[in-house]
């Protein structure tokens, strides 16, 4: 079980690193799909079967298709000459800043007193328990989410229709 976690975590990390350091955005997008699949596998191990399914369908399916569609639409043939970097050490400074962010997060995690978990009760993350929670305790957020999606649809249509002038 832990071996599987380490394998999937390594795949997720390597794919994530390739997302960041690939020159061409198309390759970044394809590696991001690999990353999402690995994370979905980890969800499956953490008794979150429904979330793993919608991770694959929504993230790796819908969202990444949208990304690839936009990349193809822009027809970026080669990683053309990137504009001049205004600040020379920006790459180094970015990596150092991100490292500090990670260290702060690790400090917070290390301070928390967490023990090793026990085996899950059967049926923790399956569709039935998710649906029971979604339509009782989380009914209002669920309905608000539908309004949010409607707003996003209208906004995307308006933005894509007319030129920004």
């Amino acid at each position: 079980m832990q071996i599987l976690f380490f394998i999937l975590g390594a795949v997720a990390l390597i794919a994530g690193g390739l997302v960041v350091f690939q020159k061409h955005p198309l390759r970044s997008a394809l590696w991001l799909i690999v990353n999402f699949f690995a994370v979905a596998g980890i969800y499956l191990m953490a008794h979150a079967e429904f979330i793993a399914a919608i991770q694959v369908i929504v993230y790796a399916g819908a969202i990444m298709v949208l990304f690839l569609f936009v990349i193809m639409l822009m027809n970026i043939r080669q990683p053309e000459e990137a504009p001049k970097i205004p600040f020379i050490g920006q790459k180094l400074a970015g990596i150092i800043l991100a490292g500090f962010t990670g260290l702060i997060l690790i400090y917070g995690v290390a301070k928390a007193a967490l023990t090793t978990g026990k085996e899950a009760a059967p049926g923790l993350g399956n569709t039935e328990s998710i649906a029971r929670s979604l339509f009782t305790d989380y009914l209002l957020p669920f309905e608000v989410t539908s309004v949010l999606l409607l707003v996003a649809i209208v906004g995307a249509v308006v933005l894509a229709k007319s030129k920004l002038k």
């Binding site: 079980m1 832990q2 975590g9 997720a12 994530g16 690193g17 997302v19 960041v20 997008a29 991001l32 990353n35 994370v39 980890i42 969800y43 953490a46 979150a48 429904f50 979330i51 919608i54 991770q55 929504v58 993230y59 969202i63 949208l66 990304f67 936009v70 639409l73 822009m74 990137a82 504009p83 001049k84 205004p86 920006q90 790459k91 400074a93 970015g94 990596i95 991100a98 490292g99 962010t101 990670g102 997060l105 995690v109 967490l114 090793t116 978990g117 085996e119 923790l124 998710i130 929670s133 305790d137 989380y138 957020p141 949010l148 999606l149 996003a152 906004g155 933005l159 894509a160 920004l164």
Partner: protein, 101 residues
């Protein structure tokens, strides 16, 4: 054998830091967007780890809502990027300095 929650959190921190690196050092707006998605994914992983740790379904509900918000954000954000591309011809964030006088 149960995977300890610390492992989930460590992987989540690593993925989040990778996303931060990407946002800070890349200048293609599309790649920056992908890195933001990766950071959202890292936060989801922490939620799932805690949901497994506390044996409660509430963490998974939050992941559900984060997924929905991410989908809405991507739809609007990519529409914005397409509009910028049509207007200016590229999507490098260094060239988008029209507000800087």
């Amino acid at each position: 054998m149960v995977v300890p929650v610390q492992y989930y959190l460590a992987l989540s921190v690593a993925l989040f830091a990778l996303g931060v690196i990407g946002v800070l050092i890349r200048r293609n707006a599309l790649v920056i967007y992908m890195c933001i998605e990766m950071m959202l994914n890292a936060v989801n992983l922490a939620f799932i780890g805690f949901a497994d740790y506390f044996k409660a379904v509430d963490g998974q509900m939050f992941v559900f809502f984060v997924l929905t918000v991410a989908a809405a954000e991507v739809a609007v954000g990519l529409a914005l990027i397409v509009a910028i591309f049509r207007n200016r011809g590229d999507v490098y964030v260094d060239n988008l300095n029209i507000l800087k006088w």
